[in-house]
Symmetry: C2
Subunit: 127 residues, 2 copies
């Protein structure tokens, strides 16, 4: 086992985190982590991210209940991005109710949505 050092500095203190379902293997979302979010993810076992728009840490699923249990974390060759393999509670990662945030399939200058939402956001995110 060797020590690693994540290159948070390269992108101003945050790195992208690709989130993949541990069992099914589909890509659920992409979010960002600063060093604190990464540390919280490691110590708690639940995915924590950094919101660039709100400038704050968020625990995934805190309001929806759709927490992500982190099973494995991989660091990339350049040490500037991570891949989380998670168990997605509620079977959906996207705040719009879809299983994956990547639900818009692009064709040319248009997109189609070939999947159905797993939940109704208006029911899950109340007030």
């Amino acid at each position: 086992m060797k020590k690693y050092k994540i290159d948070f500095e390269k992108s101003g203190g945050i790195i992208p985190a690709v989130v993949q379902d541990f069992n099914a293997g589909d890509v659920l979302m992409l979010a960002y982590m600063n060093e604190e979010a990464f540390g919280l993810t490691q110590t708690t076992g639940y995915a924590h991210y950094y919101s660039r728009s709100r400038n704050s840490i968020w625990k995934k699923g805190e309001s929806s209940g759709h927490l992500q249990i982190v099973k494995e974390i991989y660091l990339d060759c350049d040490s500037d991005s991570v891949l989380l393999k998670v168990i997605q509670l509620g079977d959906a990662a996207c705040h719009e109710g879809y299983r994956s945030c990547f639900f818009k399939r692009i064709e040319g200058d248009s997109f189609s949505i070939d999947v159905h939402p797993v939940f109704d956001p208006t029911e899950v995110y109340k007030d």
Copy 2:
């Protein structure tokens, strides 16, 4: 079919692109695209990215031959990242010879490499 508009402005003109194997479903790498790289990817069918360190477009596999044939492109809910589903020529995406750039599995403050390289970088990248 609806029109989409990718939010390149949010992160200074570039967006992250998650790259997943079309058939096997494993995550191969994360790279960045500016609008030109995205356009080239769409028009040629081969993945093109934007190098933040070199400030230039690169065609994936141009020197190694490990091109990526793009089968599907998905846009995320916030329109600020994309997922490419690709056929990876040469069976390896990482310039270090591994199938995936995410080959370092993190445990605490250390990492291990549980996979073997697919190719020898010193053989593939000559001058």
